[in-house]
Amino acid sequence: MINKTSKESSIKASAEGATKFVDSYYEAINTKRASLENFYDPNASIVWNGNPMTGGAAFSEFFEHMPATHYEVQSYDSQPMLVPGTSGGPCNYMVIVSGSVKYGDSKEQRGFSETFVLKPSSTDPNRYVVATQGFRLVV
């Protein structure tokens, strides 16, 4: 059983971690694509509009072929991923993002929904990287 104090601290940590991630990730995807790979675990599993990809390098390569994007995050939420019977070490976070995205010269705002699972990086446990990502255009 996870007690209330550790619940609160993991909730707080996941909210802070998500905020940091969302701020920097969407800035990178809009303006600094070259840095995208740094956000990923090398084995990240990604599903983009039903297309599976593995690893940040693959995603970054895929995004090089993408027209210019302008994402706008309109809401996001995060939760710690709790598993009964596991120790209280740092847990993974789940993040759900809802927003709009414009592609290329188009003025049209598409709606998108994106879900991430963030986990502590294997090289730097203080840094969270994308382990799983699911993206869909929803409007």
Binding site: N49, G50, N51, S75, V139
Partner: protein
């Protein structure tokens, strides 16, 4: 061009007055540094630091501004008689030099001393080696005049010990700028001579005022290295060069012209001539402060090529005149063409009017570019993205996710409690976030959306405080039940499969524990009890679940995250026709190559082994879409054995502790 026709130097008004524009120049022709609403009350006459000018100077091409450089190459150059478009430093045709401008200094504190007013003046003159002129006693105050460039030096003697007292010196007429902390920081970096920031601002303010000609709306920032004021104030000591001083100068300018309109109205032309610039990095802030500049001179610098001007690459789009004479760049091949390419409104380059042939060529080039450059768009007019929208991606060997989702949405409308009992344990988490600004269908665009029932529960982290973050996250069946009970009753339409999108694939919940991630996008109707025409509200939602085993190995929800937003329809996840689309008839694609291609696509989508994919396609008459549907159906019914999948897929641990391999279903 009619508003800012450039005339040869020496004729009336280097740059002709803009007649219709709103100006910010007071009766003396001084730039109003504060703006219409700013308090000018505290500022004495001395603030017009250019001093009085004769009528001749006012009519002349150049007023006193800039005449602080009396001799030297600048003056020679303009005297050489070439008709320059943008005026450079003019001859001293009777204008009063700023070095001759007097600023009032008020000296107090001597009355408390043992000395007299005369002795105090003599003391200050001796110590500072600065002549105090037109001294006048007014009660306890000595009023004296000091040449403007010396003003900061004399003020350093504020608080000086004089005959058992302290002398107080002030120059109230210099005014005091209300500067932001940011500009102070920039300025203090810019001026390592360890002067008080206020002094620095005053200096820069003085520099700007000296170099601004209100009639021609011309800011002359040429030869900054020779600027007496800047030099006198230590700006170019300790290698503090243009790179540090210029941004500070622009910061001060920003404070003076607060609106874009003000900037457009007051400054049409800027010269950065003769500043030894190799590129424009140090002065790039000019394009931020004066983005709508019409005339710009970089004459006599060391700009070698267009790359050196890249900091201004997409700036100054309204530029009508550019002067780069005296820079190596002018001998670069294609120099003229590139200038017209970069500045589409350019009318004159290096004082030569635009060659119509070159302009026509550039225009043709630009329109050709505009025609081909945009991102290619598809039949729907939308930019084509590198991957097409695909049907649901499902990698869910034991149908854990599929079974959960069917059960969840079949039950959710009628019996949320039953779901809590079956799928939620003490560590299960649920939260809701509302995206009130989400894009929506056209029909929804003008309808008012009501979110009252969701907002108090919304955990949109963009908006919710720390307390709400904890309170609005429900943990365990009790809290979740309470939260769900407060949400409007819903009706999910399971019959319309097109309205649903779901992707399911494995996820590591925590180190060593694998689970399933299910992302769902669909819609529901809100069954409101409210009266009126808007009885049934349609909403779109996104809902992501992670499923994990509990201690007994049962499937439980680890995370349940719901996003509610305005109705956005379901066209966006409709699979796009694959590149290797079946013929229009939708029937079999002939040829072995076509079959092979379809087979590969199905393997990609399903993770099936070649033989199974082949079989699936064979049974559905080699129609990829039908094969996909058949696959989903068979899968949902548990009709596809695990060994039908490729090795990579079967290797993915399903729910259950990773490594043990004992799936729970």
């Amino acid at each position: 061009m009619n508003s800012t026709a450039l005339r040869p130097q020496g004729s009336h008004g280097g740059i002709a007055k803009r007649t219709g524009g709103r100006t910010r120049v007071d009766r003396d022709g001084d730039l109003d540094m504060v703006g219409p609403s700013g308090g000018r009350g505290g500022r004495g006459r001395g603030s017009r630091i250019r001093g009085s000018r004769g009528g001749a100077a006012s009519r002349g091409g150049r007023s006193g501004a800039g005449s602080i450089i009396p001799t030297g190459p600048a003056a020679n150059r303009t005297d050489s008689g070439q008709n320059r478009g943008i005026p450079a430093r003019g001859p001293r045709n009777g204008a009063v030099s700023v070095s001759e401008t007097l600023v009032e200094v008020r000296i107090t504190g001597w009355k408390e001393s043992k000395g007299s007013a005369e002795e105090a003046i003599a003391f200050l003159e001796r110590k500072s080696r600065i002549k105090l002129r037109k001294t006048l006693r007014q009660g306890d105050t000595i009023i004296a005049q000091v040449a403007f460039p010396k003003i900061h030096s004399i003020l350093e003697w504020n608080d000086a010990q004089f005959a058992s007292s302290k002398l107080k010196l002030a120059a109230p007429s210099l005014g005091r700028l209300d500067v932001t902390e940011r500009s102070e920081a920039v300025i203090s970096r810019a001026n390592p001579a360890n002067k008080a920031t206020v002094d620095t601002i005053q200096t820069l303010e003085g520099v700007l005022a000296n170099r601004y000609n209100p009639e021609s709306k011309f800011l002359d920032l040429s030869r900054l290295g020779e600027d007496v004021l800047l030099k006198a104030n230590g700006f170019f000591q300790l290698n503090s060069t243009t790179s540090k001083m210029f941004p500070a100068l622009m910061q001060v300018a920003e404070k003076k012209f607060t609106t874009a309109q003000q900037k457009r109205d007051t400054v049409h032309s800027v010269s950065l001539g003769y500043n030894n610039l190799k590129d424009v990095r140090a002065v790039s802030s000019l394009s931020v402060t004066f983005p709508d500049l019409k005339n710009l001179s970089l004459e006599g610098n060391s700009v070698g090529d267009w790359k050196a001007l890249d900091n201004w690459r997409h700036r100054f789009k309204n530029l009508e005149q550019l002067v780069l004479l005296g820079n190596p760049i002018t001998s670069q091949p294609g120099y003229v063409e590139e200038a017209y390419r970069r500045y589409p409104k350019l009318l004159m380059l290096d004082n030569v009017p635009a060659d119509p042939l070159i302009r026509a060529k550039i225009q043709a080039e630009t329109s050709a570019n505009n025609a081909s450059k945009p991102v290619p768009t598809g039949a729907d007019g939308r930019p084509i993205l590198p991957h097409k929208v695909q049907p649901s991606f499902i990698q869910d060997d034991y149908s854990v996710g599929m079974k959960f989702l069917s059960r969840f949405f079949e039950t959710y409308d009628a019996n949320r409690t039953a779901l809590l009992h079956d799928f939620y344990d003490a560590e299960s988490l649920f939260s809701l976030s509302v995206n009130t600004s989400a894009p929506r269908t056209k029909e929804q665009q003008n309808t008012r959306q009501f979110w009252d029932e969701y907002i108090p529960k919304s955990r949109n982290l963009k908006r919710v405080s720390l307390r709400g973050r904890v309170e609005r996250l429900a943990m365990g069946p009790d809290e979740i039940s309470k939260l769900w009970a407060q949400l409007p009753a819903t009706k999910h339409d399971l019959a319309n499969g097109d309205a649903w999108s779901f992707d399911i694939w494995p996820v590591e919940v925590t180190t060593g524990v694998m689970g399933m991630l299910c992302t769902v996008h669909a819609e529901f109707q809100e069954l409101n009890e409210v009266d009126g025409p808007q009885k049934i509200v349609r909403r779109s939602f996104d809902r992501s679940f992670t499923l994990r085993p509990d201690v007994l190995g049962e499937v439980k929800v680890a995370n349940d995250m719901l996003v509610v937003r305005a109705y956005g329809g379901f066209d966006s996840w409709k699979p796009e026709a694959p590149a290797a689309a079946a013929p229009a008839s939708g029937t079999a694609k002939t040829g072995e190559a076509g079959k092979k291609e379809m087979c590969e696509r199905l393997i990609n989508q399903t993770g099936l082994k070649m033989e199974w994919a082949n079989m699936c396609l064979e049974e559905t008459g080699w129609n990829l879409e039908n094969a996909w549907k058949a696959f989903l159906e068979a899968k949902a019914n548990g009709a596809i054995p695990p060994d039908a999948y490729t090795t990579t897929t079967t290797n993915v641990p399903t729910i259950g502790t990773a490594g043990t391999g004992d799936g729970i279903l």
